[in-house]
């Protein structure tokens, strides 16, 4: 399998095209050979009801810098060996990956919490706006109350 080159300890990307989750995890694992535990999360477009497509827009000057700060704060807080934070932008169809994060740490609890923290913040605190294409056109997705509650867990 072709080996992706990752930057270490933090690899943060906004991707305009699809991502290969297997290659990403293999490269992250190789980049963190001394970690005891690696947790990854992959979020995909669900074929819910009549959702035909999903579009994520970002704001260049804020979105990626915000994700980089998030990765740094996760690394410091959970003593991570490293983190991968990748988010798709543009149009995606059901089954496609939207987001992938991974956290490497000495102990598994830190790796789990690091990945969980990254996702809760990407969901409600990253500069990204999502809309869905349904049978009757495009609709902006409102932030969910549950995402807000998830975020409050880390305060």
């Amino acid at each position: 399998m072709a080996r992706l080159a990752l930057s270490t300890p933090l690899d943060v990307r906004l991707l305009a095209r699809g991502l290969s989750v297997g290659e990403a995890l293999a490269a992250f694992n190789a980049a963190h050979g001394e970690a005891g535990g690696i947790v990854s999360f992959l979020g995909k477009v669900r074929p819910d009801g009549d959702v035909r497509a999903l579009e994520l827009t970002h704001y260049e000057p804020l979105t990626l810098p915000g994700m980089q700060e998030l990765a740094s704060s996760a690394q410091a807080r959970f003593e991570l060996d490293g983190a991968l934070v990748w988010h798709r932008v543009g149009v995606m169809v059901p089954g496609e990956a939207i987001v992938m994060v991974a956290a490497a740490a000495r102990h598994r609890r830190n790796a789990f919490e690091g990945a969980d923290y990254l996702m809760d913040h990407l969901k409600s605190a990253a500069w990204l706006w999502k809309r869905e294409k349904r049978g009757n056109g495009w609709h902006w997705v409102e932030p969910r109350g549950a995402d807000r509650t998830d975020l409050d867990r880390w305060k």
Binding site: A125, W127, W129, W140, D147
Partner: protein, 80 residues
């Protein structure tokens, strides 16, 4: 070249355009007047933020955009 106002996410649909050019300088009152009543109502909500020159303003009512600045209007996010 004035000040460029960017409408992000759902604000783009309300504005009917992704961006608008207005004369510099631009303060909070000027912004509210420039964007029309519907967007102005949104801007007054605490959960809608304003960035100027790539920085999110802690207090958006202190907006002070100069010639060439980009002012981004940021509604609540929905990522992941």
């Amino acid at each position: 070249m004035g000040v460029r106002i960017l409408f992000l996410g759902p604000l783009r649909d309300i504005a009917g355009e992704p961006e608008r050019e207005v004369p510099a300088p631009l303060d909070w009152a000027g912004l509210l007047a420039a964007v029309g009543p519907d967007i102005a109502d949104q801007l007054r909500e605490p959960r809608v933020h304003v960035a100027c020159g790539s920085r999110v303003l802690g207090d958006k009512t202190r907006l002070d955009a100069r010639e060439g600045d980009e002012v981004a209007l940021l509604p609540p996010v929905s990522g992941g």
